[in-house]
């Protein structure tokens, strides 16, 4: 048994099992099919995108015929591009707000569903999942209907009931609008993951905590949250990555919003690549997005360190 293996096993909160190398190798075979698919369909295209970010390849226009390797020129341009900086800032804002909102909502819903004592649980489960099962285009249309102009939009009709004037939501509160929509349509994701995590907590742990006199709050903060830490951090990681790259919904609603108010990274990159055909520049922007995501991911993974 190698020293590193011993350290890893010693760090784990369980009795170590001696894994021989033979067994290891067979296990790794299990991993091959998944990794192979990943390699062919995801890794290779990504590597190509990295390469393109150093060129001025265009999808159409004269540059499509002969493109050249331009080194860091795209990156220099990005560095000076204020629209790009704005994009990054907005995307981070969007990600933070969304995460906070969805975490709270998902956690509360999961806790409720975990209790098994309340009427209407099935209803809650169905309801929270509902927005997730409608296609993205429909989501966009539904919210276009909600956020419509003047008295026509549903949201305006609602606030009119309590006496407010109609608001141009996507104009006056663009960030709020898209955060709200994302909050509505994806909290279910958090809830499902948290619920699965809560359900995995062995009953005995909860019972012994109860016997020891833990009240609801202590139960939550001292027992449950730490035990579902892996799931929460995983969710945070995935959701952050998703938010950083979000495109469909925001584009359909605001197309980048009044001016640049909601021009998130995903939209910026799409515009570069498909509106303006500048694939090289768009790829460079995508690389920067990758780096930002790496930073977040690294941060989360350090928190998850023990579990690995």
């Amino acid at each position: 048994m190698t020293r590193s293996a011993a350290c890893c096993i010693a760090a784990l909160p369980r009795i170590g099992v001696i894994m021989t190398h033979t067994q290891n190798r067979t296990l790794l075979l299990f991993l091959v099919p998944a990794l192979l698919m990943l390699f062919v369909f995801t890794v290779i295209p990504s590597l190509w995108a990295v390469y393109v970010s150093f060129t001025d390849l265009a999808l159409a226009g004269p540059k499509a015929l002969d493109y050249t390797f331009v080194g860091l020129k795209n990156y220099n341009k990005l560095f000076a591009d204020r629209a790009f900086h704005n994009s990054i800032l907005l995307t981070i804002q969007y990600t933070v707000f969304t995460n906070i909102g969805q975490f709270t909502l998902g956690l509360i819903a999961a806790l409720i569903l975990n209790r098994r004592k309340v009427w209407g649980q099935g209803f809650l489960l169905a309801v929270i999942v509902l927005p997730m099962v409608i296609p993205g285009i429909t989501q966009a249309l539904i919210w276009s209907s909600m956020l419509g102009a003047k008295e026509l939009g549903t949201l305006n009709r609602m606030i009119a009931v309590v006496g407010f004037d109609p608001v141009i939501w996507t104009r006056t509160y663009p960030m709020l609008s898209i955060v709200l929509v994302n909050f509505w349509n994806n909290s279910g994701f958090a809830m499902i993951l948290f619920l699965a995590g809560l359900e995995s907590i062995p009953k005995e742990v909860l019972e012994s905590a109860t016997i020891d006199g833990a009240n609801g709050w202590q139960m939550l903060t001292r027992i449950k949250l730490p035990l579902i830490r892996y799931v929460v951090l995983l969710w945070l990681l995935l959701n952050t990555i998703g938010c950083l790259g979000t495109f469909d919904l925001v584009f359909s609603l605001t197309r980048g919003g009044p001016g640049n108010a909601t021009e998130l990274l995903g939209i910026y990159i799409y515009n570069q690549g498909f509106q303006f055909f500048e694939l090289g520049y768009g790829s460079a922007a995508a690389m920067v997005m990758l780096v930002i995501s790496l930073i977040f991911a690294f941060f989360y993974l350090r928190l998850m360190r023990v579990e690995l």
Binding site: T20, T22, Q23, T26, A58, L59, A60, G61, P62, K63, A64, L65, A140, W143, S144, L147, G148, A149, K150, L152, G153, P166, I168, W169, T170, R171, S252, L253, T254, R255, G256, G257, P258, G259, N271, F274, Q275, F276, F277, L279
Partner: protein
């Protein structure tokens, strides 16, 4: 101790079962599918199959089926080796652009397809489109295409298709104006137009102008309003391969928006919400709460016709068209040309593809297809003669539009970089109508932004 190396029979069977189940499911999903395009041309004597791509829209698809059937039959009868097969593109313009761009870059374009106007110049410059000149200029049908439209099919020396067109103008609620005693004479200058707006605002409850502006309307701001307004002023727009991004006439175009917005004559709130055409064209205009909109021929049928989105009863009595007022006092209907279906440079047979394009433009064929779907005026000058039914369609509005091809004004805006210009214009008008910037400031910002994104070699200033 470990026994995992034993491949028990049960394990083998169960794993196989799982794999098979997954495989069968996947296989059920995969009919034998030949890849489209890119194959080498078949040797002479064999059939050459050409793919024709159109958007997944019902009426268009119906037309396509008629065309393909007729063409293939004709090919059989005349013993020619070309056959056409239909292929679907997505339904919305944005998605079509994505698919076409991707196909083009990967070399898998369908042999014949309908391009998007704003991308065509870039596609031609990238070498994706075939030159059809040898096959068209010698064709007698070519003489039937009005001069004004021909330019839309030319890119430098390349002729890429048989042009089509539609006409754009203001559409206004005649009954609304008449009911309030406002004269309905064609405004010849912008001052007269503003006067009409003022009267509408004063004497009716309607907002005078629901004109596309700002970014939520997408390409419509450029395509259905700004181009035409820019053209109405004297001065250059695009010359020697450069866009004129700073000029007197451009400023005046921006000022039109400024005037409308500051006087409260523009539907600003609606323009800033998602899908702005909904409250403006499909609610405000039919209900008479918006007085004037812009648009093209298709609106008679698809927006306000009996089968349209929001039918207006008594459409032809209530709605009429005004040309765009012009600085020189000569109002005009704007003629928007397009190159029609084009042929990919990678097509298996450019001659065969051109045969198809010529076929679907034949008056006899079009006379049939317009009964299924008539989206706009027909370009060919001899069409009204050869197909008498056309004259009466849509209350004669289409035939009237055809005549505008001769008398209207046009300009080929589909140059390289038009996408960026369109984007810049949308942002600039948004700043103006929200009062964030004045027209001068907006133009300064526009010029700077375009210089940045297009590069100094593609822009120029005239003032």
């Amino acid at each position: 101790m470990s026994t995992n190396k034993n491949l028990s029979r049960r394990r083998f069977l169960q794993t196989s079962a799982l794999l098979t189940a997954g495989g069968v499911l996947a296989a059920c999903a995969a009919p034998a599918a030949p890849s489209t395009g890119g194959e080498a041309a078949a040797p002479a004597g064999e059939l050459i199959e050409l793919t024709y791509m159109t958007p997944d829209r019902e009426l268009g698809t119906n037309v396509k089926n008629i065309e393909i059937e007729g063409f293939n039959k004709l090919m059989e009868e005349t013993s020619q080796p070309y056959r056409v097969v239909g292929v679907l593109a997505p339904a919305t313009d944005n998605d079509i652009k994505t698919k076409l761009t991707l196909d083009a870059a990967a070399g898998t374009l369908s042999d014949i397809f309908s391009p998007l106007g704003e991308t065509l110049a870039d596609f031609v410059a990238a070498g994706y489109i075939a030159d059809l000149r040898p096959y068209i200029e010698s064709w007698d049908g070519w003489a039937q295409y009005p001069e004004v439209l021909r330019g839309f099919s030319f890119f430098g020396d390349k002729l890429v298709g048989l042009p089509g067109g539609s006409t754009f103008s203001f559409f206004y609620r005649k009954d609304l104006l008449e009911g309030a005693g406002i004269p309905i004479t064609q405004p010849n200058t912008w001052e007269e137009f503003f006067a009409s707006c003022g009267q509408i605002a004063e004497k009716t409850d309607a907002i005078p102008a629901g004109i596309p502006a700002a970014t939520p309307w997408g390409g419509g701001t450029w395509g259905e309003a700004f181009k035409q307004i820019w053209l109405s002023f004297n001065g250059s727009i695009y010359e020697d391969g450069k866009w004129v991004v700073h000029s007197e006439n451009l400023l005046k175009a921006f000022q039109v928006y400024e005037t409308l917005a500051t006087n409260g004559w523009l539907t600003v709130d609606e323009l800033l919400s998602p899908n702005p055409w909904e409250p403006i064209k499909y609610d405000g205009f039919p209900n008479g709460t918006v007085g004037i909109v812009t648009g093209g021929d298709w609106q008679w049928t698809f927006d306000w016709g009996p089968e349209g989105a929001t039918p207006i009863e008594g459409l032809f009595e209530k709605v009429d068209r005004w040309g765009f007022p012009a600085e020189d006092g000569k109002p005009f209907t704007y003629v928007d040309g397009n190159a029609g279906p084009v042929v990919a440079a990678t097509a298996k047979s450019i001659e065969g593809a051109t045969e198809f394009i010529k076929y679907i433009a034949e008056p006899s064929v079009m006379c049939e297809t317009i009964k299924v779907y008539l989206g706009g005026a027909v370009a060919r000058v001899d069409f009204a003669e050869q197909c008498p039914e056309y004259v009466d369609m849509v209350n004669g509005k289409m035939a009237q539009a055809s005549q505008f091809f001769e008398t209207g004004r046009t300009f080929n805006f589909n140059q390289i970089g038009s996408g960026k210009i369109a984007d810049g214009v949308a942002r600039a008008t948004e700043d103006i109508i929200t009062g964030t910037q004045t027209a001068e400031e907006a133009m300064e910002a526009f010029a700077a932004a375009m210089t940045d994104s297009l590069g100094a070699e593609m822009v120029t200033r005239a003032s």
